[in-house]
Amino acid sequence: MSATMVELGPYLALILAGFLPNEFWRVLGLVLVRGLDEKSEVIVWVRAVATAMLAAVLAQLILSSSGALAAIPVGCALARRALDLWPSYWRGARCFSAC
């Protein structure tokens, strides 16, 4: 392999494995809605789907980044907290855990 190829490797990978597979969805979106009106029912539905997907992405980012933050297992802390609080609300009592 020539020196230029080695040099270009990461950039080629950026285009092939990053830019193209990512941009594909944007281009498909552009092609599919050609000439559609923003008030049409299908666009209203698409907006709901987009919002739900965005929420799912954010939920996954929030839950998965607890792995990156090894010192603070956020998911565990949240789950523990929820488990603690739930029965206390259920019985109308005050939170009985000191956590």
């Binding site: 950039y11 494995a17 979106g29 552009l30 599919l32 789907v49 799912a56 996954q60």
Partner: protein
């Protein structure tokens, strides 16, 4: 209801672009992106990429989850595996672009004028665009959205480079914290921008169903979550409309 946007004289594209840029600068997401993308810049440093690569990565991909996957797996997985993982993480871009572009296009809009708005669409720009565009006259929207998108993309690009150079002195935990804080603030912005029942339902259902469906390990979980939660929210919206119009 009075529409103040129609009352004022028409503006040039350059003015609308500047208005969009100003909206980007005053958006909380501008500052959130600075944090988020310095985390991504730091990640590029950790995995041994060059600063130019980090900047190009942000400019070309402009989707944080896809970038994190690309940066962290490119060294170990095959090119095809990386491409598939990146692509699966970006399915949301299709409905986002599809919901947004009709707000910009008029009968005389050329397809190529929509290419830049298409590329600029990312969670941050989309969220702010969906909130702000209804108050902008239709003929100014494309330029306005381009301004908004360029402003936010600038923040991300600048931060990618800054994060790269800061990475040497930044403690790793801080870089991780930057990456963690940002989805929380995105979520809060999305919640704040939720106006209609349908948007709220889609958001709530997506938040709950997303991790649940992902835990089933059936693959394409983002796609399924979007279709199920989004369609359910849309169905409720239609039912309420039918009820409201019934005598």
């Amino acid at each position: 209801m009075t529409d103040t946007a129609i009352a004022r004289p028409p503006r040039s594209s350059a003015q609308a672009f500047r208005d969009g840029l100003r909206a980007a600068l005053t958006s909380i997401l501008f500052y959130v992106l600075l944090g988020n993308y310095s985390g991504i810049g730091a990640l590029c440093y950790e995995f041994g990429f060059s600063p130019i690569w980090a900047v190009l990565c942000t400019l070309l991909i402009w989707a944080a989850p896809a970038q994190v996957i690309l940066i962290s797996t490119l060294g170990t997985a095959t090119l095809l595996e990386v491409a598939i993982a990146v692509s699966l993480s970006s399915v949301r871009l299709l409905p986002m672009v599809a919901a947004l572009l009709p707000m910009l296009q008029r009968e005389d809009t050329r397809q190529r004028d929509l290419v830049l708005p298409m590329h600029l669409t990312a969670i941050s720009v989309w969220v702010e665009g969906m909130r702000l565009l209804p108050g902008v006259p239709k003929e100014e929207r494309a330029a306005y959205y381009n301004g908004l998108g360029c402003g936010l993309l600038f923040a991300a690009t600048f931060a990618s480079a800054a994060g790269f150079y800061l990475a040497a002195s930044l403690p790793p935990l801080l870089a991780a914290a930057l990456l963690f804080l940002t989805p929380m603030s995105f979520l809060m912005t999305v919640c704040r921008n939720t106006r209609t029942l349908m948007d709220g339902l889609a958001l709530g259902l997506g938040l709950v169903l997303g991790p649940l469906i992902a835990a089933q390990k059936i693959g394409l979980d983002l796609l399924w979550t979007g279709l199920i939660a989004g369609s359910a929210a849309y169905a409720v919206h239609r039912l309420r409309q039918a009820k409201a119009s019934a005598p």
